[in-house]
């Protein structure tokens, strides 16, 4: 058993850190408590570095706890991804602490618990671990979303997320039960061997469909996207960031593992359905984003659209497609963290995040103006930034399949249409920053130095992923290859 615990050492550290934060809260004064977020972020940074330690990476491709936990390249990639996200979100939370009013330490602890759930999810090799860790994420998010109890919006968002989240969990668990009934096991390894023979079984197909629906809710894919705009807008902004990046990536690691490696033949059979879902998600997200004035809502719709683009990597059903998803998500992480942080900095407590607050930002803080513009350009998929290269890889992976199947072309056409539409609203952000008059606020923005570091890192990463993709592509390919993606 001791040998097996080695596999989950990072998760254990994160949970222990969460408990430490909760305990430390009791002994710290009000003023020192605020810097607890920085301490936790620093500790997570240490965990992040430990994930590169030889003793840990040597465990790669191993399984533990009777094969329900798998540590492979994909899992490692996502664990680091989630750790990085959580570090940024913790730094962000300190900026946000004054708006939470109470329970700051609990807020931090819940972020850490959700993080541990995400890290377990990336290693799930069994439906039971999958379900438990997904619930760990979802339940903590119910609380994180409704944390600003004094704000109606936050509570409303919490209730919406609770109800729809419960429905999706029901889908998921019902689907798992059906799959178990047919396959006779919850283990992915068993299902992988058995699924080809079960493709004729409606019970199995319904089971997998329900599982897909549950995961589609996580990534906010059409038709399970309705919750996203309200929840993104109402939730405290650090929660929104974590939800938009972490929770979405958690859904994708499962989609990659399940549909890429566990049931590849089913995926092939469902290519048409997946294409339609991806296309509708892209269309819905982009078209609904057009009239939005609230920035968080705008990013929620753009997040739906991005889920659609990411689904293209699943549709491609190849190692290239998986690598493209990883690359795109990495770029998305830095872009969204930067965008949400800046939205939070330019608006004050009690204000909504209307796009007009960006007016005059280039005078208030040229750095923030530049960073947000960069993030918007990257999201719009314009070279030479991270977003472009991610989209390029996704399109390439789908185009590799397109000749011989016109359906893929239709998907590409929708993607192109979506990108063109998205340029319209992303440039709306840039226009608001640089060209609009009548700035409502003109005071310079003060930025805490850890926030400045995080934003600087984001800018560097967006440029790095766009300009020097040679190494990151190799990492993504390596992470995608270890995962036994069929074909």
């Amino acid at each position: 058993m001791g040998g097996q615990l080695q596999f989950i050492q990072l998760e254990v550290m994160v949970v222990a850190l969460g408990l430490f934060v909760l305990l430390a809260d009791l002994f710290l004064s009000e003023s020192t408590r605020r810097s607890l977020g920085y301490i936790a972020a620093g500790a997570l940074g240490l965990v992040f570095l430990l994930s590169f330690r030889g003793g840990y990476t040597d465990l790669a491709d191993g399984e533990a706890f009777g094969g329900i936990y798998r540590l492979d390249g994909l899992a490692l990639f996502f664990k680091r991804f989630f750790l990085l996200t959580a570090i940024f979100v913790l730094v962000f939370s300190v900026d946000f602490a004054s708006r939470l009013r109470s329970g700051v330490s609990e807020y931090l602890a819940f972020i850490l618990f959700a993080l541990s759930g995400m890290m377990f999810v990336s290693s799930a090799n069994d439906f039971s671990l999958l379900f438990v860790s997904i619930e760990l994420i979802t339940v903590t998010f119910y609380i994180l979303v409704s944390f600003q109890r004094h704000r109606m919006h936050s509570l409303e968002a919490g209730v919406k997320y609770l109800i729809l989240g419960a429905v999706s969990s029901a889908f998921l668990v019902y689907g798992i039960a059906l799959v178990f009934g047919e396959a006779g096991s919850l283990k992915f390894d068993v299902i992988r061997d058995a699924h080809a023979g079960l493709l004729g079984s409606n019970v199995f197909l319904f089971g997998m469909l329900f599982v897909f629906a549950g995961l589609a809710f996580k990534i906010a894919a059409f038709p399970f996207q309705v919750w996203a705009p309200d929840v993104y807008q109402g939730a405290p902004t650090p929660t929104t960031t974590f939800l938009a990046v972490g929770s979405k990536a958690a859904g994708f690691v499962l989609l990659i593992r399940l549909f890429g490696s566990v049931v590849p033949e089913l995926t092939e059979q469902w290519t048409g359905m997946l294409m339609v879902v991806a296309a509708l998600t892209i269309l819905y997200g982009n078209l609904c984003a057009l009239p939005q004035r609230n920035l968080k809502r705008l990013l929620a719709y753009s997040g739906i659209a991005n889920a659609g683009y990411l689904l293209m990597g699943i549709v491609a059903q190849s190692g290239d497609g998986t690598a493209a998803i990883l690359y795109y998500l990495a770029g998305y992480l830095f872009t969204l963290v930067a965008a949400f942080m800046i939205i939070n900095l330019v608006t004050r407590d009690g204000e909504d995040e209307d796009i007009s607050y960006l007016a005059g930002l280039n005078k208030r803080s040229p750095f923030l103006a530049f960073t947000l513009a960069l993030a918007a350009v990257s999201l719009a998929g314009i070279p030479p930034l991270a977003g472009f290269f991610g989209k390029f890889l996704l399109v390439k992976s789908v185009a590799a399949k397109a000749f011989g199947d016109a359906g893929y072309f239709a998907l590409l056409a929708v993607a192109v249409f979506g990108v063109v539409v998205s340029i319209y609203y992303y440039f709306g952000i840039i226009r608001a920053i640089y060209w609009s008059k009548n700035a409502p606020v003109e005071t310079p923005v003060t930025i805490a130095w850890p926030t400045r570091i995080v934003l600087g890192l984001c800018v560097a990463a967006i440029l790095y992923l766009g300009l020097l993709p040679n190494k990151p592509i190799n990492w993504a390919n390596a992470a995608a290859k270890i995962e036994a993606v069929a074909r």
Partner: protein, 506 residues
């Protein structure tokens, strides 16, 4: 010497350098921009003069960028793009000279201008599909911002959005086509010479070509304002600042045509066989429809914009003929029209500065008021009708020969008619309205061009006439490369055609 690398890097470095100069140092900023584009022009000139016809790829720079995808930063020149690069450098310098009308947020404008110049020169110098596309975008994004921020007229916002959406759509369609080329050849490389070598052995699957070619044709076509996707062009050029319009209409727009010749035809010849007929008719629509629209214009910029769209019809027609003379003529017109469009927009920009209006009915007698600008405008408008002596004539007439030879006889007749009669009609009307007759009321205080702009315009005119009297300077190089492309596209190109080429080009 890696002349191309120097030519491409100079403007990009200038963009960075301007970024570090305080916005109040107007003269320094102008100096950096003019110096960089001037030196780039010098480099292009040296490269052009030392270029060896038939010597294959020259002035190469090749760095591996992403190994696993076969992406290289690869600059090189052959007979086709060496002339375009020279034309681009001339236009870039001229645009930099004409950019002194920008006074508001001048620093930002010059950063974008330098970026755009670097992107343009890089796009035409790239021998790697990815960078070919990347540099184009690098030039395109500043275009949008420049029109949005420094544009003119009430329609500015609408024009910005329209041009952004149209051109983004075109670029994305072309990108999918380019990715399709990469995926389908299986060469595991984005390098154009590698891809061509690969398709020479094993052509792309014909069914796939039927997808790839239209994607590239319409994607690139939108970028070049192919009818019916042309409406962004007059609107956008009407709203654009002078330097932006010169660079975009002159050089950047040629990217799509260059892509058709360089990528679409050699990679998907079977697709081309099916679709070039369609292209020929659309080209005719460009010539005829946009020519007629140009006749109706009262605003000088709208007139130039529409006539520039109409002129694209010639080039499309040359490409659609798919023979050596046709493609040679197409490249020749690309270069000629680039110089001409820059000249025309440079002049209209000067006129706009005088009174803030380009309404032709209020102009008149400007030849007396401003002899230098007036003469230049006269020559530009005459070159626009295809007067012999200017490079346009040499290219256009070659294209007519080519189209006739390719069997597009009906189209050739209508095109020749429309080009000569309609083109003559609106150009002559413009000459009468603007240059002759009694002086317009608002123009009493108008002054002639300053020496800097005069230099720029003189340079453009000189190039137009040099290439008009000695098109062989360009065509020899173009022909030797284009022959390879035609041979790849039509393996059975007969000897008689080659002979006809010889005669026509001489």
């Amino acid at each position: 010497m890696d002349w191309l690398l120097i030519i491409v890097l100079l403007p990009l470095l200038a963009a960075a350098a301007v970024g570090f100069v305080p916005g109040s140092q107007l003269r320094t900023i102008r100096g950096i921009t003019l110096g960089a584009s001037g030196l780039a022009l010098l480099g292009a000139l040296i490269a052009f003069c030392s270029f060896k016809v038939g010597g294959g790829l020259q002035f190469e720079t090749k760095w591996t960028w992403v190994e696993s995808l076969g992406l290289h930063f690869h600059l090189a020149a052959d007979g086709i793009n060496i002339g375009i690069i020279l034309m681009g450098a001339i236009v870039a310098f001229a645009a930099a000279c004409c950019a002194d009308d920008i006074t508001h947020r001048m620093k930002e404008f010059h950063i974008l201008l330098n970026l755009m110049i670097g992107g343009i020169l890089g796009a035409f110098a790239s021998m790697d599909l990815f960078f070919f596309y990347f540099f184009h975008e690098l030039a395109l994004v500043p275009t949008f911002i420049m029109i949005g921020v420094w544009g003119r007229g009430a329609n500015r916002n609408y024009a910005t959005y329209k041009i952004t959406l149209y051109l983004s759509l075109g670029a994305l369609l072309a990108l999918i086509g380019l990715i399709g080329v990469y995926v389908q050849t299986g060469a595991e490389s984005f390098s154009i010479p590698d891809l061509i070598a690969k398709v020479r052995e094993t052509p792309i699957d014909e069914a796939a070509q039927q997808w790839i070619f239209p994607l590239l044709m319409f994607g690139f076509g939108i970028l070049v304002s192919l009818w019916p996707f042309h409406t962004w062009a007059p609107l956008g050029y009407g709203a654009a600042p002078t330097a932006t319009a010169m660079l975009h209409a002159g050089v950047l727009k040629k990217f799509g045509l260059y892509g058709l010749i360089r990528v679409a035809i050699p990679m998907a010849p079977a697709g081309a066989q099916n679709w070039l007929g369609v292209l020929a008719w659309l080209a005719l629509a460009n010539l005829l429809y946009c020519g007629l629209v140009a006749v109706r214009q009262k605003d000088l910029n709208q007139l130039i914009g529409n006539s520039s769209v109409a002129h694209m019809g010639f080039i499309f027609l040359g490409i659609a003929s798919l023979n050596v003379i046709g493609l040679t003529g197409a490249v020749l017109v690309m270069i000629a029209h680039g110089l001409l469009a820059a000249l025309a927009f440079g002049l209209s920009g000067h006129l706009y500065r005088q009174t803030g209006s380009l309404d032709m009915s209020r102009m008149g007698g400007l030849l007396r008021q401003m002899p230098l600008a007036g003469t230049a405008l006269l020559m530009a408008l005459l070159a626009g009708c295809g007067l012999p002596g200017f490079a346009n004539f040499a290219g256009e007439v070659t294209i007519f020969f080519a189209a006739w030879l390719a069997g597009l006889k009906t189209i050739t007749v209508i095109a020749a008619w429309s080009a000569l009669v309609i083109g003559g009609l609106y150009m002559m009307r413009a000459i009468r309205n603007i240059l002759h007759g009694p002086r317009g009321d608002d123009w009493a205080k108008a002054s002639d061009v300053n020496p800097l702009i005069a230099t720029a315009l003189g340079l453009l005119l000189a190039a137009l006439m040099v290439f008009g009297f000695a098109p062989g300077l360009l065509t020899k190089g173009i022909e030797s490369e284009v022959t390879k492309i035609v041979r790849l596209a039509k393996p059975a190109a007969d000897a008689s055609e080659a002979q006809a080429t010889e005669v026509a080009v001489r």
